[in-house]
């Protein structure tokens, strides 16, 4: 059974038809990367799946259970998670409170001690206001929140934007580790190198439609990057 399945998903901003019949099946333990030019609808896709988009049509299922009609908070409690660069932390809560606020939404959260074993970088900042941390540290707090709720599908919207290369590598490692523990990951990222390094499959979104998909190797060898994104060099 697919962890997340979209069938003919459409999303609108007023009269603008942003997503136009998107189909996608995301299997547990896989990382699916979505790439595309600015304005292709990548962020709208994640917001529509999460329930943050006002007008959405089509079918959405999480492990076979329909998500349609559920508010974003109910989708989150069902196991869907969204990490977005414009909403990383509750700034005035401490790192610990950020994690506790998430842990309290589920019956059996991952104990915070175990979260700190995965992300030990947060230990020195545990009692600090999350808003005082660097962007990279805040992103780690966001990952910690999603670890503690044992999310089953994690969607990441530009998780490395504006972050130092060392943090980008670290986020890549944690995402890989999550996928190894059977979390399904949907990654929207401008950082093509990272996307190709950690994705099992890659979809190219153009003008609200998936126009191509394949393994990273297939995408590169087929010349699809150059055709759809204007990128000539294959990522290393």
């Amino acid at each position: 059974m697919a962890a997340l399945e979209l069938r003919h998903l459409n999303a609108f901003y007023g009269k603008a038809h942003i997503l136009q019949g998107v189909d996608l099946a995301l299997e547990p333990g896989t990382v699916v990367g979505v790439i595309g030019r600015n304005g292709a609808g990548k962020t709208t896709l994640l917001r529509a799946i999460m329930g943050l988009q006002a007008r959405v049509e089509g079918e959405l299922e999480l492990f076979g259970a329909p998500l349609t009609g559920l508010a974003a908070d109910a989708r989150a409690r069902a196991g869907l998670a969204l990490m977005s660069q414009d909403m990383r932390v509750f700034p005035e809560l401490t790192v610990e409170e950020n994690c506790r606020a998430a842990a309290a939404t589920v019956r059996e959260p991952l104990p915070l001690e175990q979260v700190l074993e995965v992300i030990p970088e947060l230990k020195p900042h545990w009692r600090r206001a999350a808003g005082r941390l660097s962007g990279g540290q805040q992103q780690l707090v966001a990952i910690a929140r999603n670890l503690t709720v044992r999310c089953r599908v994690l969607m990441l919207d530009e998780p490395t934007e504006g972050l130092m290369p060392s943090i980008v590598t670290r986020i890549g490692e944690i995402v890989r580790r999550l996928a190894e523990s059977q979390v399904a990951v949907l990654l929207v990222e401008q950082n093509v190198e990272l996307t190709f390094a950690i994705s099992t499959r890659i979809h190219i979104l153009e003008k609200g439609r998936f126009v191509a998909e394949g393994t990273p190797r297939e995408i590169v060898s087929g010349g699809l990057l150059e055709r759809y994104l204007g990128v000539s060099d294959a990522p290393h």
């Binding site: 999460m50 329930g51 943050l52 508010a71 974003a72 908070d73 109910a74 989150a76 409690r77 998670a81 969204l82 977005s84 909403m87 990383r88 932390v89 509750f90 700034p91 005035e92 809560l93 409170e97 506790r100 606020a101 998430a102 309290a104 939404t105 589920v106 929140r145 709720v149």
Partner: protein, 287 residues
């Protein structure tokens, strides 16, 4: 003016400030969490006072039994208002919330007028004793009322600090979309907030009844004071409003030693309004 009179007025100011602070706390909670400026909040205070006065004077119930009944009744009333009104105006133009709650305020005040009449209701204090110290005789009930208000503030602070819903109530105003994608049940958090705000306003009304009596329009004077302390405390800063409410009580108490009650109120509000000139975002405002 003699020291004993100054002390008496200052104590009155602190008592009034503490009662005002638990009303302002509720107003601040609803604004902070839902972004709604609740014009009907003074009417909730009035509803608590009238509920207490009628249950004591007409049903003959004991004051200490009536106190929690009035608080819970107004809490439930606010919960109903949340479902019927607040949730409908969330995320809309703030003017819609203002107009809707103005409608609630007029409805509540006039319903009480129709049911209980325009005559002020007076209630005997449940404690008649006076405390003699520093040359003054001070009514014990007022000190007890101030103590209950203070305990209420502490209880709310502990609730916000140590409970799941308290944590969520602090989280949601900081990042609403993040709260939703974190799985925080926002509608439930809104409902608990509304109930808590109503509970504290109702409790304040019932506590104030033996001191000031009850009247269908008594919410008007309180709502004006609440708005001033919430704005000067710093919009959205809960504890800033509490501090300013107590300060307002003290300032009013000080002015009362040299001015008539009406002028002392004018002077106290004017003093606080001067703060806006220097700190437009309020004393503890962050924005």
């Amino acid at each position: 003016m003699a020291f004993d009179q100054i002390l008496f007025e200052l104590l009155n100011g602190v008592v009034w400030g503490l009662i005002l602070s638990i009303i302002a706390l509720g107003l601040g909670l609803i604004y902070g969490l839902m972004g709604i400026i609740n014009l009907a909040h003074g009417s909730l205070y009035m509803a608590g006072a009238m509920c207490a006065a009628l249950l004591i004077n007409r049903a003959g119930l004991d004051f200490w039994l009536v106190l929690p009944i009035a608080a819970v009744a107004v809490g439930l009333l606010t919960l109903a208002l949340n479902t019927a009104i607040f949730e409908r105006v969330l995320h809309r133009d703030p003017a819609v919330g203002l107009l809707a709650t103005a409608g609630v305020f007029l409805t509540l005040d006039n319903t009480v007028l129709a049911l209980a009449g325009a005559d002020p209701q007076s209630v005997m204090p449940p404690i008649f004793d006076v405390l003699e110290f520093a040359g003054i005789y001070y009514p014990v009930y007022r000190l007890v009322a101030a103590g209950i208000a203070l305990l209420t503030l502490i209880a709310v602070a502990l609730f916000l600090r140590f409970t799941r819903y308290g944590l969520w109530m602090r989280a949601v105003p900081q990042a609403r979309d993040l709260a939703a994608v974190t799985g925080i049940p926002i509608l439930k958090v809104n409902a608990i907030t509304a109930a808590l705000a109503g509970l504290t306003a109702g409790l304040a009304g019932a506590l104030a009844t033996p001191i000031s009596g009850a009247h269908f329009q008594m919410g008007l004077s309180v709502i004006a004071a609440c708005f001033i302390v919430v704005v000067i405390g710093g919009m959205g800063n809960l504890w800033g409003a509490v501090v300013v409410a107590i300060a307002l009580g003290l300032i009013r108490g000080l002015y009362s030693t040299v001015l008539s009650p009406t002028w002392s109120e004018v002077a106290a509000f004017s003093t606080l309004l001067c703060v806006i000139y220097f700190k437009p975002n309020g004393i503890f405002g962050r924005r």
